[in-house]
Symmetry: C2
Subunit: 332 residues, 2 copies
């Protein structure tokens, strides 16, 4: 196929071809320092002619900071994280930063391992989900000297920068909403809470609110693996098998809720008159449903965007609460 010309063109070769010094080429290419217009042209011509592509590895080593931003995220199946990446990547690309990522699969030990691997690239910042990290991870991040951004959670103490919203508040407001609508026999269908600690926080504050108002959770069904539409459907089916007289169900997220809604459609359970459904995330799909999903819309893309902006601007340590929005749909 193509012949691998392993030997890439170097700065020195460009300098020679343009008949100038290396540092001059470097200055021209980075548009930094001073040089004459004539020099600039000659350098650019040589760059063009040789097809020179600067070596950022060398550049980063020689200068101080890298323009890499490392994302250590729990999952790519849960749309939340692609959304965050999407918000961040636009800002990063504009500012000529590069996004690197790895996926922990919600495993703190793996997070530690991957964070270490990331730090080896000396990134400008490391972005992580939430506050629950191993001691080792925290120690490493602290010692690294690079910026740390914790995303999508505000219920805890930030290491450096935190951007997101309160999951506890989300759980609380969801409960309050259902109670205000008059639901009293409320159930829950969720996915693995030990791993997804943010879902766990929502659930526990949801339950606390219900109890405080005298209508404690009636039943719950936790599916073993990750959240999905199918698991939501299955979860609701199982929950109703055990507690058929529920009047509302809170789901760990919109995917699960959609599954629950499908179950109701398939079984002819009237929503919300017979059973109300409430989700979490505010995915676009919820708006397109025959009955718009009642849920909480979270600022996922904005979280990524703001996080990236703060990193690019090298902002001081801070916590940014982007809030969330309760969507009064037609399912609860």
């Amino acid at each position: 196929m193509e012949l691998k010309q392993q030997v890439a063109v170097t700065l020195a070769e460009v300098a020679e071809a343009a008949g100038v010094g290396e540092s001059t080429v470097s200055r021209v290419l980075r548009n930094h320092g001073s040089f004459s217009g004539k020099t600039r042209e000659r350098v650019m011509a040589a760059v063009e002619r040789l097809g020179y592509v600067p070596n950022r590895i060398a550049g980063t080593l020689a200068s101080t900071g890298s323009r890499l931003v490392a994302f250590v995220i729990p999952s790519l199946s849960n749309i939340v994280f692609p959304d965050v990446l999407r918000g961040a990547s636009a800002v990063l690309e504009e500012n000529r930063y590069q996004a690197v990522f790895s996926v922990t699969d919600y495993d703190p030990a793996k997070e530690e391992e991957l964070a270490a691997a990331m730090l080896a690239w000396r990134p400008a910042a490391v972005m992580l989900a939430g506050y629950e990290h191993t001691e080792g991870t925290v120690k490493m991040l602290r010692a690294s000297g690079c910026r740390v951004v914790e995303l999508l959670d505000l219920d805890g103490d930030a290491l450096d920068i935190a951007v997101g919203f309160s999951n506890r508040a989300a759980g609380r407001e969801s409960a309050a909403f259902l109670l205000e609508r008059g639901y009293r026999r409320i159930g829950y269908v969720g996915h693995d809470l030990n791993r997804d600690t943010r879902a766990g926080k929502r659930f526990s504050s949801f339950c606390e609110t219900l109890e405080a108002r005298g209508a404690p959770l009636v039943a719950r069904e936790i599916v073993a693996d990750a959240s999905s539409v199918e698991n939501g459907r299955l979860g609701l089916q199982r929950l109703l098998a055990r507690a058929s007289d529920l009047d509302a169900v809170y789901f760990s997220n919109d995917d699960m809720a959609l599954g629950g809604y499908f179950h109701c459609l398939a079984e002819g359970i009237a929503v919300p008159s017979k059973l109300a459904i409430f989700g979490y995330n505010g995915l676009d799909i919820g708006r397109a449903m025959p009955q718009p999903l009642s849920t909480i819309r979270t600022p996922r893309v904005a979280t990524g965007k703001i996080a990236a902006q703060l990193v690019v601007a090298n902002a001081p340590p801070q916590t940014v609460d982007l809030g969330f929005e309760l969507i009064e749909g037609a399912t609860a």
Copy 2:
């Protein structure tokens, strides 16, 4: 907050602390070359004590190849690409490779720009979606000497490695399926085809097949922006407003199809007796619908996985057809 100890620990410091030479530390850490057990222990103790994190930037510069794999993908909203990343990232992490990505937003010019930025990191491989690249991109990739993997499309000529399936075949089989089921007045609802060239290929071979069998496409509706459930719903609504007597609609993907299904639910259009719906992608959500979605399941995760494996193994140039599976759901 945390004090930034900008000065990271270096190999030399570890060597000094352990009372050995730099190369010895390097050998121990990479488990490469020979060294005694005693030396190993002393080195590891020093590493632990100082909290040393190797600098991969320097390592990569000094050695030949980098362990970076660059993904230049069109979108993160379309679940297809997170799925591919997911498949790849597991393999890459196992092999201590690092994934870097950027998002082109389906813009070839942006792809060129971003590919150039990626090449500056001297990645081991660049992964791109499909075959449609600018001349500049192709030239750059060829000259770079790094592996190039083109994903999710096989209808064209590969630069180096290609992994995916034929979108034309997918369009053809979708058409054949609908025709065999007896549908004759078929419409199409899709999203921006100029940008998503793979959707364009599916559509054109779909139409060709219909025509060849004497039942040309009756009507089509192309929504302006990206695919989404809402756009699918809206698209079908508009399409039916113009052509109310269709008996089947082919959607550009499952998101769009789901939107169409929701429209039917909301309007009381019986599926599939009054109107059949056919999608593309085989998302999990389709299985959980009250009526499972008829669609084509594409090997998205596997595409990422195989691509990563080939890169890790430094396999020779090749084209891998992973095929796809037609799902006979209940909507067509």
